[in-house]
Assembly symmetry: C2
Homo-oligomer: 350 residues x 2
């Protein structure tokens, strides 16, 4: 975190990661007993105004926040972590969520999820709502490109790990798949099977993974000294109508593409439908594996990432922080794997 | 709710559904001003012990709970509802979650999800954790068969709607698909296409929908006066190994089944794999539609429910309650729809 950003986050925290400050920390700093802190926090009588002010100053300095859930439950608080996804309906996130949940459970913690629906404002609202609801840590698939709003929370001890996409303008643990190399290798695979006119249909260009995969496509084309026509690269929502329109446009005319590289599983599934309607074979390699890809005709060649592994790694990093690890933020990149099944090995239609 | 259960839930609430009691309600009942209630709730000075006791009694009687998230955020509280699912990795729940989220958003509320992983203890832990985190209402796909643990929460004003499966031992709004009729019609469809030896592979029998669908299978067989051999009905986890073993057992021998009815989409997907490996056609009808079913060979005939509609209806009922509707709990049952695509119209192999 740059110093200016840290300054903007409010009072300098005495610890960045690790356990949140406890009442004991507040008591030590204020030079009072635990019972006194408890009285102040719970608004009970019997504390002098001077002492109360000292305790309040200590609370502010440490970023201490009372554990309200515990009081409501009147028993030990249930540890919980939050997971903020991009889209509940994208099957890519199902194994990722489940893996995070399994790690959380192994640590005796509950997992609470929410979806940003790819809306930065919604992401922020949801993240802060989860913090206000006292999650101990967060795993975030970011929709936003600026996470400085999280600095006060991180400073107050909310461990935070980003997965699938990096954070914006803050330093934090992050777990990514190698989107660039994966896409580059997938496109090189199509080129190796004789394709020269290859279309790329990706997700919205503001999304990190979409951008990286497009870069990978361009790198593979350049490495093979192949020209890329303007009409061969399309980025936008994964809405089936949009993908279909771009695909049909790229297929049309005498110089239509003979192969597609799809930027994610939502795009791939629509392309499978579009290509099934054609009277000529068109090759397809998709980023992301998906259920039943191997049973389609032809079976679909994919660049697979392992969303469960991404989730497990991210959750593992999170609990490492929650258990007190204090080393600088890490960036872990998982390789992808090309699975050749048939659709990516079709030769160019003559 | 039976009277005994209500008694066990603590002080009789003055309202069952509708908005939670507010500070204003507490003030009115205690015969004090709003500022006094605020002082008591926030532990501020300036309230006599007598008045404080009266306010506390009013708080207890009304089941009022302070909005702690609001204080933490230091701005208006974000309304939120919780959704407790059975399995994050089952694609059936993706459109259901998304529909609930869209309704929540239209009402200015956040959606927070959790998964019970089909574990009743986990469900209870998660539901109570969400209540402690001050959700305004809950949509629950229950794993548990006994929801009396929710009575104090419902009494305190947490609106609750069950979806996909009914609640156990409490009365509450519920939104179901017609599992019995759907399965009965799907099996009748196979019988109409000449099948006499039909296997049923379902989810665990303790699950309401699994039980209802098995009942539907048996009803269709009985209506056609067809015998059901012991080995033709298998219930258990949706683990692919289990489903595969049951399917292979039912297919073996001279009297092997010529068709399957699959109890849900997880079972169907495994059966598609098993049947793709056979050298003879075996008919298949599956409960639940699933992505790409129409592009498989043969395309898969399904009894479709509309999970988005289930979610929308459940969320609609929830916000109706949150807006004050006070009528008796409703049970809404949505019909299913048979979509004939090919696999369910195959004749029996000779």
């Amino acid at each position: 975190m740059p110093d200016t950003a840290r300054a903007a986050a409010g009072p300098t925290p005495e610890r960045r990661y690790g356990n949140r400050p406890t009442m004991k920390d507040v008591a030590a700093r204020a030079g009072v007993g635990l019972k006194t802190v408890s009285r102040v926090v719970n608004g009970e009588a019997g504390v002098s105004p001077d002492t109360e002010r000292r305790v309040q100053e200590s609370i502010t300095a440490l970023g201490f926040r009372r554990n309200d859930s515990a009081r409501i439950l009147r028993k030990g608080r249930t540890a919980s972590i939050g997971l903020v996804l991009e889209d509940l309906a994208d099957p890519f996130y199902a194994p990722l969520s489940r893996a995070v949940e399994e790690v959380a459970r192994a640590h005796g913690a509950l997992l609470i999820n929410g979806s940003s629906a790819e809306d930065p404002a919604r992401e922020q609202e949801l993240v802060l709502a989860l913090c206000a609801r006292r999650v101990d840590g967060l795993v975030i698939v970011p929709a936003s490109g600026d996470h400085r709003y999280l600095e006060p929370e991180i400073a107050a001890g909310v461990a935070t790990v980003f997965v699938d996409r990096p954070p914006g303008h803050i330093e934090a643990d992050q777990v990514l798949a190698d989107s660039f190399a994966g896409a580059r290798d997938g496109v090189a695979h199509l080129i190796a099977h004789g394709h020269r006119r290859i279309g790329f249909i990706g997700d919205r260009p503001g999304i990190h993974t979409a951008h990286e995969r497009q870069r990978g496509y361009l790198a593979a084309m350049e490495a093979a000294q192949l020209p890329v026509h303007d009409g061969w690269v399309a980025a936008g929502t994964t809405d089936p109508e949009r993908v279909r329109a771009d695909a049909e446009r790229m297929l049309s005319g005498p110089d239509g593409v003979t192969a597609f590289f799809a930027g994610n599983n939502r795009v791939t599934v629509t392309l499978v439908r579009v290509l099934a309607e054609l009277d000529r074979p068109v090759a397809l390699v998709g980023f992301d594996d998906f259920e039943l890809a191997d049973l389609l005709v032809p079976p679909v060649t994919v660049v697979a990432q392992d969303p469960a592994q991404l989730g497990r790694t991210a959750a593992g990093l999170l609990f490492r922080r929650l258990e007190g690890a204090n080393d600088p933020p890490r960036r872990m990149t998982h390789p992808t794997r090309l699975i050749a099944r048939g659709s990516g090995e079709l030769p160019p239609a003559t």
